[in-house]
């Protein structure tokens, strides 16, 4: 390596550090189970969480089912074989406890650096937070205020202890353990996650938020989130994720289930910023997630908004089953890939009820040598009389080594439904770039501005503070991807 190359390398290294500012490791004592996966490990996880027998059985059943399943390989992503025996399925900070006041100062510092308001401070006072560190939930804020309204917002482990009847009723009712390979794995080993229950007629006054952080080495994170909104209830839920920079890949296989009863509304927003690996494609998180909402009641509404800027590989299709008549499903997505990142993401809208409506807006941006695919299904069953769907998938390419793919499937089985789908793929417009640059704005800022405009339809769906964060994040990610 000659002088210039060395300097260049140093530069890129520091650049990378700048690009992923959440890449630090927190030094905390952890309580871990050995690597590997078998029925004993599952029993041990269940025991550590002091779970009732039905839960242990549920896990074991899922595990047995998982053993008969094959890992899906249809997505347009490539990665080496995953050794499921080489993953640690449980890792918890020793000092973990449920109240912020008792939390380990190291942990608090971590969340402080990540900008998560664990103390109920006024800065982001409108948000109640549940934070998941590796395998366990470490703190849940704003609980009392929520409890007054009858809202339950706690970690999944607590919910299993304190509200077993609700958990038993809804867990696995939207994503059954047999749904797919990763859902089965998650059902067997899930360690924690958030549980959220909004009773009849209650409008959740604050935004609920979960923050996921992978810290320990060689662990997988398998969180399970369940949100139930009863009749006329409303909730807006935000999810964020980061992980330290490491040169090995880590697995994140989460399951999220949403249930909306009559006239209930759930808004689920995600800013996913897992560590994406370095520019050569070493390390990073494998983000294999199953997210599904079920509009069970009439006039219910589920809305997914996602900003995917991290993870080495993303495999994720937040979907809505529109069963109740007049129910509404929405999917707004920005997926950004750079370097060697691979994303295969999209949605499924299953129209069952009459007069159901769905909207899909997907914006994919690929830069570097990344691959970005949209994959979606719009299914209109014969019972979905007068169903309506509008889909728009746009892809933008920055650089000539990346790829953008679109694989939509539309199945229409009734003559009364109207469905339209449009998609475009193009390079970032030279004309627009020229226009902005001719007004004295440098190329990088110009690109950022145009990309921002491209994603506006999605960003405007995010809660305000999140929207600001997403725009900043995208700007940061775009740095050095131009030219």
């Amino acid at each position: 390596m000659n002088q210039t190359e060395t300097t260049h390398k140093l530069e890129t290294d520091s650049k990378l550090v700048r690009e992923y500012q959440y890449g630090f490791v927190t030094d905390v004592d952890t309580d871990e189970l050995p690597k590997g996966l078998n029925e004993d490990i599952i029993r041990a996880i269940s025991q550590k969480k002091n779970e009732p027998v039905w839960m242990t059985e549920w896990r074991l059943k899922s595990f047995r089912r998982w053993q008969t399943m094959r890992e899906p390989r249809w997505a347009k992503v490539t990665y080496p074989e995953i050794d499921y025996q080489d993953i640690r399925y449980y890792s918890a900070p020793k000092s973990a406890s449920s109240g912020a006041a008792q939390a380990d100062p190291e942990l608090l510092k971590t969340f402080e650096r990540l900008g998560i308001p664990l103390y109920e401070r006024d800065r982001l006072a409108g948000v109640a937070v549940d934070a998941v560190f590796d395998s366990v939930s470490v703190a849940t804020t704003h609980r009392e205020m929520l409890a007054e309204k009858g809202i339950i917002f706690c970690s999944m482990s607590e919910a299993i202890q304190e509200h077993p009847e609700l958990v038993r009723k809804y867990l696995g009712s939207v994503v059954p353990p047999s749904d797919n390979f990763f859902a089965a794995l998650n059902s067997a080993v899930f360690s924690d996650g958030s549980f959220c229950y909004i009773p009849k007629g209650v409008r959740c006054p604050v935004e609920l938020s979960t923050y996921f952080r992978i810290n320990a080495r060689d662990t997988g994170q398998f969180e399970r989130t369940l949100i139930v909104a009863e009749e006329d209830a409303y909730v807006s839920y935000i999810e964020g994720c980061t992980a330290p920079m490491r040169d090995t890949n880590q697995l994140h296989a989460a399951v999220v289930e949403l249930v909306a009863l009559d006239r209930a509304q759930i808004k689920y927003s995600t800013v996913q910023n897992w560590y994406a690996g370095d520019e050569k494609g070493h390390g990073g998180i494998y983000n294999f997630v199953t997210k599904r909402g079920h509009c069970r009641g009439a006039h219910s509404k589920i809305s997914w908004t996602q900003v995917e800027v991290g993870a080495a590989i993303t495999w994720k299709y937040p979907s809505v089953i529109l069963e109740g008549d007049h129910s509404v499903g929405e999917f707004y997505s920005v997926a950004f890939t750079n370097n060697r990142m691979q994303a295969d993401t999209g949605t499924k809208m299953i129209h069952i009820g009459a007069h159901t409506k769905s909207t899909i807006i997907s914006k994919g941006i690929s830069a570097g040598e990344s691959a970005n695919s949209y994959r979606g299904l719009v299914q209109i069953l014969p019972s979905a009389q007068h169903a309506r769907n509008h889909t728009c998938c746009d892809s933008m390419l920055i650089g000539d080594k990346c790829s953008a793919n679109t694989y939509p499937v539309i199945e229409a089985e009734t003559s009364t439904a109207i469905t339209e789908h449009e998609a475009t793929t193009s390079k970032i417009s030279e004309e627009q770039l020229f226009y902005v640059q001719s007004r004295g704005i440098d190329e990088e800022s110009a690109t950022s501005l145009i990309v921002n405009g491209f994603c506006k339809d999605v960003f405007k769906e995010l809660p305000l503070e999140f929207s600001v964060e997403a725009i900043k994040l995208l700007e940061l990610k775009l740095e050095h991807s131009v030219g």
Binding site: N405, V409, A412, H421, T425
Partner: protein, 438 residues
């Protein structure tokens, strides 16, 4: 691998085994190609509904075991009866169960201005030319079961060649009329239009409703530098005919290809068109019209492959489904690395006219280059209620108003058909299908 080790249920399409291979002596060139294709055919498994491509058209819908390969048609000495549109073409090829004939209406063949010959005969006369195209340079995908079958077992092969700068205004009509029940027909077409030449090819498939038939067709069309090739195929098979077709098209520098597929007949049709826009400034216009009523099943796949920079393609497929009809459209635009300044468009519109009918659409984009513009669209719905109201308010009975709107919907594709007789014929078919009670 020898045939003895293979499980015939897995690799053989019933009826197409060693014994079905042509007995008559053929030029070595053809025999060698058949040999190679037969080997491929044996190596490829029989598709099942578990294969992505056949997921929506279960091969079990086609009763392969009921068909025996038809005899190769022989050249007829005396001309049989002429079809109604024959005099609007320069050359007419008609093929039926027992024979075929090539009629030279304008004396073009005699003058050498155009070649239309059985493939085996052409291989004898122009071995170098045939060898070049027999390998199938337009076949951009791996060997597939039914194209390998077609290559190994074709019964009627036709070679069309327009020499450089030849302008053939009225073109060639190929008419397939089959009526013998229980037979499978395997025609193969190879057409080459050389530099700056211009040619139109029209194909017409017909069979009576009571004849049970299987057609496995392979077509390859090449447009050389600056050439213009217009091709339209009108498929009006009877209600008990099954059709599996694979088409491969390639456009070279500055060439223009216009391709129209009109699918109206048959019980099950499984078609694939691959268009390789191969060199800079080549253009391809692909159009399709399909109408599945009663229990018809139509499955079409299109591939717009852009292997070179500065290439253009435009696809418009319009379909209607009625009664228990089911249509599947799958389209891919594939821009290879380096294929910059590409402009590709794909549109699929579907009319769902009655309850019970179903339409699936899978419009895909696979883009590996950056400086380009690719887009696709797909729509589904019934006739526009406002338009229907408008027409009815002017005194049109509902059935008539509906028919008018369906005609209007299809007219955009019909206008792209290069021959008036074919346009009229399609309009008639659409009108009839609109009025058809299930």
């Amino acid at each position: 691998m020898t045939t003895a080790q293979l499980d015939p249920a897995v690799v053989m399409v019933p009826g197409f085994d060693e014994s079905a291979r042509p007995a008559a002596a053929e030029p070595d060139l053809i025999t060698a190609r058949r040999e190679a294709a037969f080997k491929q055919y044996l190596e490829l498994p029989m598709p099942t509904a578990r294969d992505e491509e056949w997921r929506r058209t279960d091969p079990a819908l086609i009763p392969f075991e009921r068909f025996k390969p038809a005899e190769a048609p022989r050249r007829r000495a005396a001309p049989s009866g002429a079809g109604p549109w024959d005099d609007t073409f320069d050359v007419v090829v008609s093929v039926d169960d027992t024979g075929f004939e090539i009629r030279d209406n304008a004396g073009l063949l005699a003058q050498g201005g155009l070649t239309v010959q059985p493939l085996a005969e052409a291989a004898q006369r122009h071995p170098a030319l045939i060898e070049r195209y027999l390998q199938g340079p337009a076949r951009v995908k791996h060997p597939r079961k039914f194209s390998a079958l077609g290559d190994a077992f074709w019964r009627f092969g036709l070679f069309i060649h327009a020499p450089a700068k030849a302008i053939i205004p009225r073109g060639v009509l190929i008419r397939y009329t089959h009526a013998q029940s229980g037979r499978s027909v395997v025609p193969r077409l190879l057409a080459v239009v050389e530099d700056q030449a211009e040619l139109t090819i029209a194909e017409h498939y017909e069979s009576p409703d009571d004849a049970e038939l299987l057609a496995i067709t392979t077509r390859e069309l090449y447009a050389g530098p600056g050439a213009t090739l217009r091709a339209a195929s009108l498929q009006e098979w009877g209600a008990r005919t099954y059709h599996i077709g694979e088409d491969w098209v390639r456009a070279e520098r500055d060439a223009r290809i216009e391709w129209v597929t009109l699918l109206l007949g048959g019980q099950v049709s499984k078609m694939m068109v691959s268009c390789d826009v191969h060199e800079p400034n080549a253009q391809a216009y692909l159009s399709g019209l399909f109408f599945a009523n009663r229990t018809q099943h139509v499955d079409q796949k299109t591939l717009q492959l852009h292997t070179a920079p500065n290439t253009y393609s435009n696809l418009l497929y319009k379909g209607a489904v009625k009664d228990q009809g089911h249509s599947v459209y799958q389209g891919i635009i594939d821009a290879a690395p380096g294929a910059i300044k590409v402009d590709a468009y794909q549109m699929n519109n579907n009319l769902i006219l009655t309850e019970g009918a179903r339409a699936d659409s899978l419009p895909g984009l696979e883009i590996d280059a950056d400086d380009l513009k690719c887009s696709h669209g797909a729509t589904f719905g019934n006739l526009d209620q406002n338009q229907l109201f408008y027409l009815r308010a002017r005194g049109l009975p509902e059935a008539e108003a509906r028919q008018l709107l369906v005609m209007a919907f299809f007219e955009e594709v019909i206008a792209r058909v290069p021959h008036e007789f074919m346009r009229e014929r399609v309009r008639e078919d659409v009108r009839r299908k609109c009025g058809d009670a299930a």
